[in-house]
């Protein structure tokens, strides 16, 4: 009898412990991998000091799975307490669920928020609803292998013509010195329509243009001379210039990263979140330098691109909503933001200590270069995602079977997009 009582007591104790812990534990779903998990662990420890007994558990999913799981969970009332991701991804979640909480009142209760600019808040807002509180600006620069530049006798390129000259040397000049023609000038991706936007936007906004496809009035801009020039060079990078790996048309993020981290590419996109990993000896060992995207026109200033804003959102059916709101506010505090900078490589506060970061991380943390943000037309034009998908599909078709002359292709594409905008905007 005594033994049964002991077992019963133990079971009840474990159940009680789990139940108590569950009530105090927030769950966050993100796609930041190990860096993100480390960040949330640090924040959990700090948060527990302010809110004894509370803890935060984060789960990281591959981005593709993150969408499906979040949408499924919110729609079946099994939502996590909070979700963390890029604004455009949270827009898709809101479109599919209509159950993301308006974070405006949550943010308004935070007194120390002057570091968030108008652009930051505009990005976080979709159809008059603030769907995330901005937490990390996503900066993307042009990365170059330092040792390769030295080997071919070049410095960091300033203009697109410089890039083409250096790229040809990277492609043909055996910059890794292994005696084989196995180097790629540039690592890009083009497997899916959505992949292409990431690359094209870098060329467009990095070179000082303000819109990829349409302006705020909904007018298609791709065949305007300045835009057409950038677009044509972008398309040639995949085709006649032979700067990318021949199989790039089947490369998505994972393959692009294999090319970069395998040390086969001389130029690539480097995001603030990449630096920590690429500083490691087994990856690039810090053998890269970052800078703004090249100039296409001397009169137009080039920039490092702000490709988005990562932030925290709360589903309406969050199981521990009040505690989740408290944690979301806490994430804007200095301790949480410092942890963000040190683990993920990005933050929104400007009063953080960057001295412990590597030189390459400091480049982003100090925001030394001119920054240019995406125009985020999806938050202005409801029809934009459909037009954009058609646009990228058209560009992919062109890249897969390149025309002899890109100019008529661009003109034809512009016409098709205008027809589509006219139809959808009705």
């Amino acid at each position: 009898m005594g033994r049964w009582k002991a077992i019963g007591g133990a079971v009840a104790g474990i159940w009680l412990a789990c139940a108590t812990a569950g009530a105090q534990t927030l769950t966050v779903w993100h796609d930041l991998g190990d860096n993100g998990i480390a960040w949330f662990e640090r924040m959990s420890a700090e948060f527990a000091k302010e809110r004894p007994g509370a803890s935060v558990r984060s789960l990281s999913f591959p981005t593709d799975q993150w969408f499906g799981r979040v949408i499924g969970a919110i729609n079946t009332d099994t939502a996590p307490d909070l979700i963390f991701n890029n604004y455009e991804r949270v827009i898709r979640i809101q479109t599919q669920t209509s159950r993301m909480m308006d974070m405006k009142p949550v943010l308004e209760a935070v007194t120390d928020r002057g570091f968030l600019g108008e652009d930051d808040l505009r990005v976080a807002t979709f159809k008059d609803r603030m769907i995330i509180i901005p937490m990390q600006r996503v900066q993307m620069a042009l990365g170059m292998r330092k040792s390769w530049l030295d080997k071919v006798g070049e410095t960091f390129p300033e203009t697109w013509d410089d890039v083409k000259r250096v790229a040809a040397k990277f492609r043909d000049g055996d910059p890794d010195g292994n005696g084989r023609a196995d180097t790629v000038a540039m690592a890009l991706q083009a497997a899916k329509p959505r992949d292409l936007i990431h690359m094209l936007d870098l060329f467009v906004f990095g070179s000082g243009l303000r819109h990829t496809l349409v302006d705020p009035s909904g007018k298609v801009v791709i065949d305007q001379p300045a835009h057409a020039q950038v677009l044509e060079e972008f398309l040639k990078t995949y085709s006649s210039y032979r700067f990318v790996a021949p199989d790039t048309v089947n490369h998505s993020f994972s393959e692009m990263y294999q090319v970069i981290e395998g040390g086969r590419a001389g130029m690539f996109r480097v995001g603030d979140w990449n630096v920590r990993k690429w500083d490691q000896p087994a990856v690039l060992n810090g053998d890269f330098v970052s800078g703004p995207w090249p100039k296409f026109d001397p009169a137009r200033p080039n920039a490092v691109v702000i490709g988005g804003m990562r932030g925290i959102g709360i589903p309406e059916n969050s199981p521990n909503k009040q505690l989740a709101i408290e944690f979301a506010r806490f994430m804007l505090g200095k301790a949480a933001q410092q942890a963000s900078l040190e683990t993920v490589g990005a933050a929104v506060r400007k009063d953080l200590d960057v001295s412990k970061l590597s030189e390459r991380s400091q480049y982003f943390a100090r925001a030394e270069a001119r920054l240019a943000a995406y125009d985020f037309p999806e938050s202005v034009h409801p029809w934009y995602p459909e037009v954009e998908a058609a646009y990228h599909r058209k560009l992919l078709a062109g890249i897969a079977s390149p025309p002899a002359d890109w100019k008529p292709f661009i003109a034809e594409t512009a016409r098709e997009m205008r027809d589509m905008v006219a139809r959808l905007a009705k």
């Binding site: 992919l396 890249i399 897969a400």
Partner: protein, 296 residues
């Protein structure tokens, strides 16, 4: 009614043994299919809720008006046709070769070499094939280059990608069909061939008129199974091409997966339902064709 119950009672051991498997089939086979079909009539945003919004046949109208889906379905049917013919022709040829005495001691080795890919994890196999076809460092183009021959576009050329994945799939699947053919060849009536030989029939005529008709059961099984398999082509696309280049390998299964990925559950299950109907229809047609009595 009483007699029906009496018959069931009489066969109670049979029903008792079948019941657990019937229950599992209903629970894990038929029920999910029915749920998927039901979901195809709901609005995507509400598809996973306890009380979804039903939209009638709106998803079907939308999908059938989608030129990408029509192109994807056409592509799937063409690829299935090519893949079924190529796999069965190769498997039958290999089985005939292995059934003969031509290979002597190499027979076991060739048999193993052709069957091993069937038990190799498909993802691992396709990753290796992707590397083989890679135009930067792949062995295939390196060999062509060494021989002074023009390069093969492989997976990055819209003109060659279908053939490239067909070869990879043939490598993975043909061994299975070959084993079915071999089993059928092993149990055929050899006396008929001897009689035909005595009557002066050539080897080719013996194959066409005596052996092939006896392979009808294996042909039927392989035809139906291969049709189902290639209509659902998915893994090879995920691993090797992601539907590209220029949508050339965007088959219906992968297109449905992309829609799932975007949370468009209503449309995705509509695609799955249409594909399911096509699979059933073509499988029945294949069964009917191969079951037909010769000369009728």
């Amino acid at each position: 009614m009483t007699s029906a119950l009496a018959r069931i009672w009489q066969d109670r051991v049979f029903y008792a043994l079948v019941l657990p498997f019937a229950a599992l089939t209903i629970l894990f086979g038929i029920w999910p299919i029915l749920l998927s079909v039901e979901m195809s009539f709901t609005a995507s945003a509400t598809a996973l809720r306890a009380t979804p919004t039903y939209v009638g046949v709106a998803n079907y109208v939308s999908v059938l008006a989608d030129p990408l889906f029509i192109a994807s379905l056409t592509r799937t049917l063409v690829y299935t046709g090519l893949a079924v013919v190529a796999n069965l022709a190769f498997a039958l040829s290999a089985a005939a070769l292995l059934d003969s005495t031509l290979l002597r001691r190499a027979n076991l080795f060739v048999r193993l070499a052709l069957f091993l890919p069937v038990v190799t994890p498909d993802v691992a196999g396709y990753v290796v094939w992707r590397w083989l076809f890679d135009r930067s460092f792949g062995a295939l183009n390196a060999a062509l280059d060494a021989l002074g021959l023009p390069g093969f576009g492989g997976l990055s050329d819209p003109g060659s990608v279908l053939w490239a994945i067909l070869v990879a799939e043939l490598w993975h699947h043909a061994g299975f069909y070959m084993v079915i053919f071999l089993a059928n060849l092993a149990i055929r009536d050899r006396a008929l061939e001897e009689a035909a030989a005595i009557d002066g029939a050539s080897a080719a005529r013996r194959w066409v008129h005596v052996i092939l008709p006896q392979l009808r059961p294996a042909l039927t099984v392989n035809l139906v199974y291969a049709t189902i398999q290639f209509l659902k082509t998915f893994t090879v696309v995920v691993v090797m091409t992601k539907g590209g280049p220029n949508d050339r390998t965007n088959f219906v299964s992968y297109y449905a997966y992309q829609l799932f990925d975007q949370g468009r559950y209503g449309e995705a299950t509509t695609l799955a339902t249409i594909l399911f109907a096509v699979v059933i229809a073509l499988s029945l047609l294949a069964l009917r064709l191969s079951d037909r009595e010769p000369g009728r």
